[in-house]
């Protein structure tokens, strides 16, 4: 039987876990339950109905799901292609002090509201924006380019810019945590740099790649403001389809779509959890 001070200590230490459990896990479970409820008029009725899912998977919204998935995959891949070289460079090619400064500089824009940054992007890409002005001034076309804004291009660009800063940190963390002796051993055995990278560095940075991919994918898949700002009228991704279901008070439908997003995210997270030891990945900041 622990003494009272010990009880108090355990109580305090379990507070953060309880907080996340109560205000995140329980609500997420509740959302899943509500997705089976029925909507009568403007109120909710407990039921066990697959109507919301049936409507979702048979209607035009299935297309929204497919496009959201496709865009999320494209944005994640583009993000990795951009973030990996940056993280690699910061982890191996610059002094630790400099790399900290760069990491800091890269994370500052991320804390500025993405909504504000995407408003700015909409202006930059617009018909009268600086990009079109420059193209016109250079005489590359005689009319403003229309597909820059309110297009798939704009949405992908907005999503990549919004989520790339999110992807650099886990990549850098796993790359910087790799024991240099593995790379040196490979080098001493006469393996060329390219092959060393493919056979040693890349596989060892997989936990970071996977973590970065989850960040990019989850963020993109559930994003609700970018499609509205940069996609234009009628551009639908999962995120803003959920909010528009809320606007017409169709709660079970919103709950069903939100559950699809959350569950797909949980699946990725579980794979990550099974495949890699998070402590190994965060080796630099968690003592084991």
């Amino acid at each position: 039987m622990p003494r009272p001070p010990e009880l108090l200590r355990y109580g305090l230490l379990s507070l953060p876990g309880l907080f996340v459990g109560t205000f995140l896990l329980v609500p997420a479970g509740l959302t899943f339950v509500i997705s089976f409820w029925e909507r009568k008029g403007f109120s909710l009725h407990p039921a066990f109905s697959f109507a919301s899912y049936a409507a979702f998977f048979s209607g035009v919204r299935l297309e929204v799901l497919q496009i959201s998935l496709l865009l999320a995959v494209i944005v994640t891949l583009l993000g990795l292609l951009l973030a990996y070289p940056v993280s690699y460079f910061l982890a191996y090619r610059v002094r630790p002090r400099t790399s900290r400064t760069w990491l800091f500089l890269l994370s500052v824009p991320f804390v500025i509201n993405p909504v504000i940054r995407n408003f700015a992007l909409a202006y930059i890409l617009g018909r009268t924006g600086p990009v079109n002005q420059m193209v016109l001034a250079l005489g590359l076309t005689d009319r403003p380019i229309d597909w820059l804004l309110f297009s798939n291009f704009a949405v992908v660009l907005g999503l990549v810019v919004s989520y790339v800063p999110f992807m650099i940190y886990p990549l850098w963390l796993s790359l910087a945590g790799i024991d240099r002796r593995f790379v040196e051993a490979s080098w001493m055995l006469g393996v060329p740099p390219g092959q060393t990278f493919r056979k040693v560095t890349l596989p060892l940075s997989l936990p970071g790649i996977f973590a970065a991919a989850i960040f990019g994918f989850v963020g993109t898949f559930g994003e609700s403001t970018v499609p509205i700002i940069l996609g234009g009228l009628g551009y639908q991704l999962m995120g803003n389809t959920i909010t528009s279901a809320l606007d017409v008070l169709n709660y079970p439908s919103a709950a069903a779509m939100s559950s699809v997003v959350t569950i797909s995210m949980l699946v990725f997270l579980l794979i990550w959890y099974r495949l890699f030891d998070i402590r190994g990945f965060m080796g630099k900041i968690v003592q084991t």
Binding site: P5, L15, L24, F89, R93, L106, I116, S224, T262
Partner: protein
């Protein structure tokens, strides 16, 4: 030859990195330039005016939203760091630390809409009216993983052997923590508070779904945009947010530098 090749890769790398940084930072400029333009709808450097800023304090809905934002920032700044600190200590001292780590990082992985929606359902089913506190809970949830990671990083530089030393000299757990560990990781705790406030200051979607009749500055900007598009006043407000965030970060940086020197 190889020296030249590596110099070339180096140059390319730096150019790539600088371009990358430019793409991330350039979008911060247009709203600020627009906010001081006479026209107020496009960056126009033919003149500089602060009239759009002068019109901000006149709007009662807006001033109300600023007050709400400040109150939420206070809640988040005061509640999140102790939670993050307890979480980091729990990961060090309790069993099932891998699971606990995952649990405390979970809010990062839930899309904003889903977190907001789930919280809205949760509060409404319990009969809890939207208030400062529902907004506070959602914002603390979103800030917690960041604060947690910052405190974890700070604690990783602390050697627990100092705690052992304190125990040997007869200090209890609480006393050892307060007198030995806390002062050493204090910069991390302060950093987590500042970062939590920045996070909550820039949050839109999660807040919008649980705020009820309230408004924060961010949700005010978003709802104005949905109703009427962007106005000169909104540009001024966005610039205030950008500059305030940058100022907070600069303060954090200077604080760290100062501490590093002394």
């Amino acid at each position: 030859m190889s020296v030249r090749a590596s110099a070339l890769t180096r140059a390319v790398s730096w150019i790539f990195l600088s371009a990358f940084l430019a793409v991330l930072y350039l979008p911060l400029l247009p709203p600020v330039l627009t906010s001081v333009s006479p026209g107020g709808h496009n960056p126009d450097l033919s003149g500089v005016t602060f009239r759009w800023y002068a019109e901000l304090p006149v709007n009662p809905v807006l001033t109300g939203s600023i007050a709400t934002s400040i109150k939420v920032a206070l809640i988040v700044g005061l509640v999140t760091p102790p939670l993050a600190l307890l979480g980091a200590m729990a990961v060090r001292e309790l069993r099932l630390r891998r699971l606990l780590l995952l649990l405390l990082l979970l809010p990062l992985f839930i899309p904003g809409v889903s977190l907001g929606l789930a919280s809205a359902f949760f509060f409404s089913q319990l009969g809890i009216q939207p208030s400062l506190w529902t907004v506070g809970v959602v914002n603390v949830m979103w800030a917690l993983p960041f604060a947690f990671l910052i405190v974890l990083t700070a604690m990783s530089t602390f050697d627990p052997i100092y705690l052992e030393a304190a125990y040997v000299h007869g200090a209890g757990r609480l006393r050892a923590f307060l007198n030995v560990e806390l002062p050493l990781i204090w910069p991390g705790v302060l950093g987590s508070a500042t970062f939590s406030i920045i996070i909550s200051f820039n949050e839109t979607v999660r807040t919008a779904l649980v705020q009820g009749p309230l408004n924060t500055v961010q949700t005010y900007i978003w709802s104005r945009f949905l109703q009427a598009g962007l106005t000169p006043q909104i540009y001024a407000l966005m610039s205030v947010m950008i500059l305030l965030t940058l100022a907070l970060i600069l303060g954090l940086l200077l604080g760290n530098l100062h501490r590093g020197r002394s």
